[in-house]
């Protein structure tokens, strides 16, 4: 008797995309989007984002949120690389020699917070929500500035100062958001212990984790010797382990990696660690980061964001420019470059979306209108951010691109 036909060796249909196929697909689609964008002299990032939006929930809906969960690991690694690199760009020596740079970082953070808060308050957004929204707005996207600077091969005072300011405002934004979240917990009747301990755990834990990574880098680096290839692998390894540990321990990837980078740059008296280039080699991951970011944006919010969203953008913008300009002039930048420096802080951080969703996820009862406004502002800034940064660097004459693609 003949055996029944058995097709068990064939895969089940429809095919569920696994992580590898997904990574490859994101990479290739991002590549195409980036190349198209470069043809019309737009930043490649804009192309990655556009492809993401096209494939994501705004467009064809191919990249569903269940699918995107699988891409999370790549996104986390690329954020880790970017934040580490950002930390390495903040030079304490420079802040000592040019105090105005430090003060401009603090003043633009404080001023953009105040202006956004006051604006939202007058538009009848509840106080605490207005404060959280304003705090999220303090931070500028490290990824956008760093990748555009890299793509344009930009060097100069606007580029270098913008990166330092982003490092400062990322740290400040993180601290303020964490504290405000604690207050929010309190409003929602969490126990006092939770309210006090949670932010403390986040801050101290992330600091400690970053410090441990730095110490490991110094010891291992000294043992490996000054070999660029080895130290590169070591740093990537440590970055990934730190990202993983931060997630495991429910700490924050952002702060831990920033601290790691900061210490590597500023606390290496024996000059054990080589300044190995990480940014250019991370390009693969960064493409995926931005395609995923684009896919997660829900452009429908643009329609409901309305006046509050626009007011938010305007107030944040004013805060950044007014906060930076006087100090930049004191540092000897021309009026034009000072304004461009303020302008360069426009892009909002990719993790702003995540932060917003986290807050509203915890307390679904929160004002939905404010949520929509905030998300729409993030989307607008996400889209125009790369264009604005490219414009500022070109305008400041700091790009080194020889011929456009």
């Amino acid at each position: 008797m003949a055996a029944a036909l058995d097709f068990a060796f064939l895969p089940d249909f429809p095919l569920p995309l696994n992580a590898l196929a997904l990574f490859g697909a994101l990479l290739l689609s991002g590549l195409v989007g980036g190349a198209l964008a470069r043809r019309v002299r737009l930043p490649a990032i804009t192309g990655y984002l556009a492809v993401g939006m096209l494939l994501g929930q705004t467009g064809l809906g191919l990249l569903t949120s269940e699918l995107l969960v699988q891409a999370r690991v790549f996104v986390d690694i690329s954020l880790g690389l970017i934040l580490f690199e950002l930390g390495r760009r903040l030079d304490f020596n420079w802040l000592r020699k040019d105090r105005a740079l430090l003060y401009s970082g603090i003043s633009e953070s404080v001023l953009s917070f105040i202006l956004v808060y006051v604006t939202l308050y007058y538009l009848d957004v509840p106080k605490l929500i207005a404060a959280v929204a304003a705090a999220i707005g303090i931070s500028t996207s490290p990824a956008v500035i760093m990748l555009i600077a890299q793509e344009q091969r930009a060097e100069g005072q606007v580029t270098e100062r913008a990166l330092s300011l982003v490092a400062i405002n990322s740290v400040l934004a993180f601290i303020v958001v964490t504290v405000l979240l604690a207050v929010l917990h309190f409003e929602y009747q969490a126990s006092v212990v939770t309210v006090l301990l949670h932010p403390l755990y986040l801050l101290a834990g992330s600091l400690l984790l970053g410090t441990v990574a730095w110490y490991a880098a110094l010891r291992l680096g000294a043992w490996l010797g000054k070999r660029e290839e080895r130290q590169f692998v070591m740093l990537i390894g440590l970055i990934i382990v730190t990202v993983g540990c931060a997630t495991l321990l429910k700490l924050t990837v952002l702060l831990a990696l920033l601290v790691f980078g900061l210490l590597v740059k500023n606390r290496d008296p024996q000059r054990v660690l080589l300044p190995v280039e990480i940014g250019a080699k991370g390009e693969l991951l960064f493409i995926v980061l931005f395609v995923v970011t684009g896919a997660e944006l829900d452009a429908r919010y643009l329609l409901v964001g309305g006046a509050i969203g626009l007011a938010y953008i305007g107030a944040r913008f004013a805060g950044k420019i007014l906060g930076v300009m006087p100090w930049a002039l004191m540092s000897g930048l021309s009026g034009e470059k000072a304004a461009l420096l303020g302008l360069a802080l426009t892009p909002m951080a990719e993790f702003a979306v995540a932060m917003v969703q986290d807050v509203w996820g915890l307390y679904p009862g929160l004002d939905p209108q404010a949520f929509a406004a905030l998300v729409s502002a993030v989307i607008v800034l996400e889209i125009i951010g790369p264009l604005v940064v490219q414009y500022t660097l070109v305008r400041a004459g700091e790009t080194g691109v020889k011929e456009p693609d």
Binding site: R88, R89, D91, N93, W94, K97, D98, E155, G156, Q157, E160, G225, K226, R271, L274, P275, E277, S331, G332, S334, G397, E398, G400
Partner: protein, 370 residues
């Protein structure tokens, strides 16, 4: 075209132009810092002048005209301190050295100025490869004829200047085995080399007029010779030195040129008929081996070591050094000769110690500040 006029200057006065590297403080690679730095320097008063150079990662310090080593050194120290202070506020650094050890020439950008654009259009990639850093020494001359005589007479000592100043062993990420690899970048230019056989200012003018009429040159700036008369300043300009790692060495080399000029003008030795026949050989020895090279003496036609030749010259110069207050400077150079060490030796030691070109440049930055 009009005749070039030689504007006479105080005989044996000295001045220098120093080309400096602008590097970032991250990996100590060259960085396009000149526009931002020059904008800052415009606002403060300096004892000399700071100018842009062909690449945006270079600046040039120009001293004023000085009577002697001590005042030149004082002026250069003042300029160095002012520039270092401004540079640090921009989170940049400057340093000496004839080449950057690991920059890629293709990364360099030409400073946007008419002359630099012209040079870049004309010479193509040579212009960018010319991202090398030299010290130019000017010695004042009372007349154009004196300048022409000195230009020829000083050529005998060009290897000394190369060996004493050499500070460019590394180029594009490798040890070139040369003490001064920088001069190899100069050799590729069609108008490099030496002044032709003209012996008076009038003959020089004729030569220039001829080259001008062929449209080969537009001004004396287009002659990239090792030594050339500089009629606008009324000087002879020695252009073979690498930028030393500190202003002390730069000033001492200027004082050496000054004392040599004093002696040559006082004694007016006749120029050996075929002196230029050996010129390139001696120059190569100095570039390749520095203080450990050999010189074929044009008058005796014997091989002598570089160090003994410089030591003998320093001895002859003693009375002239007194006349121009260059004694301290020359005794400093004697020490270098006694130990056969130049800046290239120092740079190679730093590399052996740190195994990293980034750390070498970091050390150069520290040495410049001292």
């Amino acid at each position: 075209m009009e005749q070039l006029t030689f504007e006479p200057s105080q005989a044996f006065s000295i001045g220098v132009e120093i080309e400096l590297q602008i590097v970032n403080t991250r990996d100590y690679n060259l960085t396009r810092g000149a526009p931002d730095l020059l904008a800052r320097l415009e606002r403060i008063k300096l004892p000399g002048a700071v100018k842009p150079e062909i690449a945006q990662s270079m600046i040039e310090l120009n001293s004023g005209v000085n009577a002697n080593y001590a005042t030149l050194l004082g002026q250069l120290r003042g300029m160095r301190d002012a520039v270092v202070e401004q540079v640090e506020r921009l989170n940049l650094a400057v340093c000496g050295g004839g080449t950057h050890p690991f920059q890629q020439w293709s990364d360099q950008r030409i400073y946007p100025a008419e002359r630099f654009n012209y040079v870049s259009d004309l010479y193509g990639y040579l212009a960018k490869q010319f991202t090398v850093f030299g010290l130019h020494i000017h010695v004042g001359c009372a007349s154009g004829d004196d300048a022409i005589y000195l230009t020829h007479a000083l050529s005998r000592y060009i290897p000394h200047f190369i060996a004493l100043s050499a500070s460019s062993p590394f180029y594009q990420g490798v040890d070139t085995s040369f003490d001064s690899s920088r001069l190899n970048a100069v050799n590729a230019f069609p108008l490099s080399g030496c002044m032709p056989s003209v012996h008076t200012w009038a003959q020089f003018n004729e030569y220039f007029a001829r080259m001008y009429s062929y449209k080969i040159v537009a001004s004396t700036k287009d002659f990239y010779w090792d030594i050339r008369p500089k009629p606008e300043y009324g000087t002879v300009e020695i252009r073979v030195c690498d930028t030393p790692l500190n202003v002390e060495k730069a000033s001492a080399l200027a004082a050496y040129a000054q004392a040599l000029a004093h002696r040559l003008m006082a004694e007016r030795p006749a120029l050996p008929p075929d002196s230029y026949a050996l010129y390139n050989y001696n120059r190569f020895q100095a570039c390749r081996f520095g203080m450990n090279g050999y010189i074929l003496d044009p008058s005796t036609k014997t091989h002598v070591t570089m160090t003994s030749d410089i030591a003998a010259t320093l001895e002859q110069l003693a009375p002239h050094a007194d006349a121009v207050d260059a004694r301290t400077a020359l005794s400093q150079l004697s020490e270098d000769v006694a130990t056969a060490r130049n800046d290239t030796a120092w740079l190679r030691e730093r590399y052996r110690e740190t195994k990293s070109f980034t750390d070498v440049v970091h050390a150069q930055v520290g040495r410049w500040k001292q």
